[in-house]
């Protein structure tokens, strides 16, 4: 699949547009493109749209929770809203967010390749995603479901709401995820530039590789599981519903066998983004490169054996609880290794406090706190009190918003010049980052305390002793919302009017900066030969001329 120099000369023949954004400006040229960069940009637009929708649902929920009694809307609407919030944020935003956007855009650039291994399949994954998303939206409009994103049986097999479109949507979205995963695995194996051995792969590539393995292995399980629930609803199968001879806990096993690794589908790419950003803004080689790289694979592997920690009080045997408990302790270690090595990367570096660096600081705090509260809820005796309370809600929002979303924002700012060739307003960037980090803490730290106090999750009404902390949490969520609006405004301005930048405005030594910003359609006229490790800052790369 590697193209020869002759091929590349032909591709670089005259009349080639200056970059991928100019290569055809019609709608059709975007919709039919096989360019991984354009597909990445279209995914960016799509996931940001769904992030906005999911965020609106979240704010509506928080507004209701200002008061303990009925307020704004009724219980059924509330239950639908939290289901839609979960489904949108997880299946339509978090899972595709980093792999399908930055993975698509950066992976071939970092490998010194002209595209991914299967460009058509890549475009197909976008359309599969869009059709799944369209079906989900159709389901939202026609009543929505009230099962929660976890679809626990036998509730989900008996509730009269519109569960079916969502189940099928999850099934379809899974295929998009599998296609992306296969594509990336093959690309990493076959399309590395000369000199780019496995021990030199950028850490983002390692993390995307680990993620892809999980996507390919775990996603089929959720696919058939939701199909069985659908069959139970339509044909009255009795697989999960005990009234028809099924076992409801079997569903939980199958569901978490996917959905626990799915947490790593969301967080591993985030860790990859942070590995790149820490090195770039500290201008320092990654401390413990091998430890960070192998721990990505370690997470991908051990993450498959911890699903039972979601079921400590679900009627699982005490022996199983012990085994899943201890295995969960091991998966925490891989994250700890990464955290220490990121901090180590800053040691004796040359740190520039840009917007992404602010998100890195937020990310580190949120990941350690969120991760260690994860260890806490994996401690069986403690989980009995915390299970299904707001403590768990706060814990996974620390990981998924605190860590994964901070990394997404760090990546968005770090790679914005790479993707669009323009820079954003640094001052507003820092203002928004501070608002978001502050607002995030104010939203979710009260939720930890609510969980301690004993407030179960998915509560439309709640006993009055929980009100004070709920009000604090809603106030924080409002602040968080403002932060996102600011980002939206200055990025849209930057997209249109931002000052143009040079090839490598941060002086980064990630391989994706070897080509122009924004890159030409086929990325590299001549495939580069890699002679250095990524992020080797013993020499300086001025903004215009980074080359190996």
């Amino acid at each position: 699949m590697r193209q020869s120099v002759e091929d590349s000369r032909q591709l670089a023949a005259p009349a080639v547009p200056e970059n991928y954004l100019r290569d055809g400006t019609t709608v059709g040229s975007w919709l039919n493109t096989r360019d991984h960069k354009r597909i990445g940009v279209m995914f960016l637009a799509a996931v940001l749209f769904f992030f906005f929708i999911g965020g609106v649902f979240a704010l509506a929920l928080r507004m209701k929770l200002l008061f303990p009694g009925p307020f704004l809307f009724d219980a059924l609407t509330y239950n639908r809203l939290f289901t839609l919030h979960g489904v949108t944020m997880i299946f339509l935003f978090l899972i595709p967010a980093i792999p399908a956007v930055f993975g698509n855009f950066m992976l071939p650039l970092m490998l010194g390749a002209r595209d991914v291994a299967f460009p058509r399949l890549n475009l197909a994954s976008l359309y599969v995603y869009l059709s799944g998303a369209a079906l989900a939206v159709w389901g939202f409009i026609h009543g929505g479901a009230d099962t929660g994103w976890t679809f626990y049986t036998p509730y989900s097999s008996t509730t009269p709401t519109q569960v079916l479109p969502l189940l099928v949507a999850v099934f379809i979205l899974g295929f998009s995820s599998i296609l992306t995963g296969i594509n990336f695995i093959v690309t990493v194996h076959t399309m590395r530039a000369p000199g780019l051995g496995w021990s030199r792969l950028p850490l983002f590539v390692w993390s995307i590789y680990g993620t892809s393995v999980i996507q390919v292995l775990a996603t089929p399980v959720i696919g058939f599981t939701v199909m069985v629930v659908a069959a139970e609803r339509v044909f009255s199968f009795g697989i999960f519903d005990p009234a028809r001879g099924g076992d409801p806990v079997l569903f939980q096993h199958l569901f978490w066998f996917y959905s626990h690794p799915a947490v790593y589908i969301m967080i591993l790419p985030a860790m990859g983004v942070i590995s790149e950003c820490v090195a770039a803004y500290s201008r320092k080689n990654p401390f413990g490169y091998k430890a960070i790289a192998y721990s990505s694979l370690g997470i991908a592997f051990v993450g498959f054996f911890t699903w039972g920690h979601h079921m400590f009080v679900a009627g699982q045997s005490a022996f199983d609880n012990g085994v899943f408990g201890v295995l969960s302790m091991f998966v925490g270690i891989f994250t700890a290794i990464k955290v220490f090595n990121w901090v180590g990367t800053m040691y004796r570096g040359a740190i520039a406090f840009r917007t992404p660096f602010a998100y890195i600081c937020g990310f580190l705090f949120f990941l350690v706190f969120g991760g260690m509260t994860g260890i806490a809820v994996a401690t069986v005796a403690l989980d009995v009190h915390w299970h299904d309370t707001y403590f768990v809600v706060a814990h996974f929002h620390f990981i998924m918003v605190g860590a994964a979303l901070m990394a997404f924002l760090a990546g968005l700012h770090y790679w914005f010049p790479k993707m669009f060739g323009r820079t954003y307003h640094e001052g507003w960037g820092l203002v928004a980052a501070s608002l978001i980090i502050l607002g995030f803490n104010a939203t979710f730290i009260p939720q930890f305390l609510l969980g301690n106090q004993g407030m179960p999750r998915r509560y439309y009404q709640y006993p009055e002793q929980f009100q004070a902390l709920n009000v604090a949490s809603t106030a924080g969520a409002t602040l968080l919302g403002f932060g996102f609006v600011i980002i939206l405004i200055y990025l849209v301005i930057a997209l249109r009017w931002g000052p143009r930048c040079e090839r490598n405005p941060w002086g980064s030594k990630g391989f994706e900066w070897l080509t122009d910003s924004p890159p030409p359609t086929h990325n590299y006229d001549v495939i580069p030969t890699i002679t250095q490790d990524p992020h080797d800052y013993r020499t300086h790369a001025p903004p215009g001329v980074y080359n190996v």
């Binding site: 509730y155 409801p248 040359a350």
Partner: protein, 350 residues
Amino acid sequence: MNELLRRLLFLPEQASTFAYEIDRLHYFVILTTFVMSTAVGLTAIFFFIRYRRRSEAQTTPHIQPSLMMEAGFIFVPLAFFLAWWAIGYRIYIEQTTPPQGAMDVYVQAKKWMWKFAYPGGPNAVNVLRVPSNRPVRLLMTSRDVIHSFYVPEFRVKQDVLPGRYTEMWFEAVQPGRYQILCAEYCGAGHSVMRGEVIVLKPEEYEDWLSAQHRGLAERQDGAPTALDFAPAIGNLVDQGRRLAQEQGCVKCHTVDGTRHIGPTWLDLYHRKEKLQDGTSVDVDEAYITESMMDPLSKVVAGFQPVMPSFENKLAGPEVAAIVEYIKSLQSDAVRTGASEGPAYAPVRGR
């Protein structure tokens, strides 16, 4: 110190025997978490101040951690994590192993209420009365979807599943009223599926129980109890004896140890029965219930598969009554008591 941390962390009061032990581990874990995450954050900020970029063309040395350092990164946190697991698992075993002689209460959950049936007396809805300083074991099942029985003050929670029994136990240390919350999402009424545990002093509990027997405190708890309960006459064992006659159980099962069409009920509870397929089964509440609902799935060796199913013929409390009646049929040679205990012995006996 305990009181200060408990209030700082918004934990509810410690009203069961193991609540304090759990909270102590909670403090250890959460304080370590706070220290670690703050330390990481502060180190990052310190490194930023100390190593901020001084010129645009600045270069940096290539540094790799030593093997010792990487090992430290792995084994120091691992030691903490494993210690938490070990402490937590020991408490958990204790927390899920009902002591012998615990008082049994049958719990039935349905959208959106809790029903309680006491072996010694009446049924109740949404109000569970228990004596203080006495272990109480709850045998729980659901009529519809999954619910979860949660009392924050006791630090206990257990999912309640349709189609099978789950059990949990607690021993309340302080008379008082404690909220029961449903912790597993179960639909529109999930957040109002609340009940109350009223912990009484032992003598008050006895008074209440005998008042119930005399039928004085009629429906004190004032909820729609009659829905699908047989009128509660006598204790569960008496109800069970009556039901066994009404339903014809005793036409095939003897209660005096003689062999008839079905296995005798005398000493049946916790007998090891050999099944037709060669496996053996411990006759517990779950097996007895299963045999009523699906009698042909596990037939005892040496008997014909002739028993009819009682599914949809017996309400939940009636099943509980028959189970209790069978449990009461013990010859003197056999130990009496609530249960043999689960497969895992408590690490520290109680």
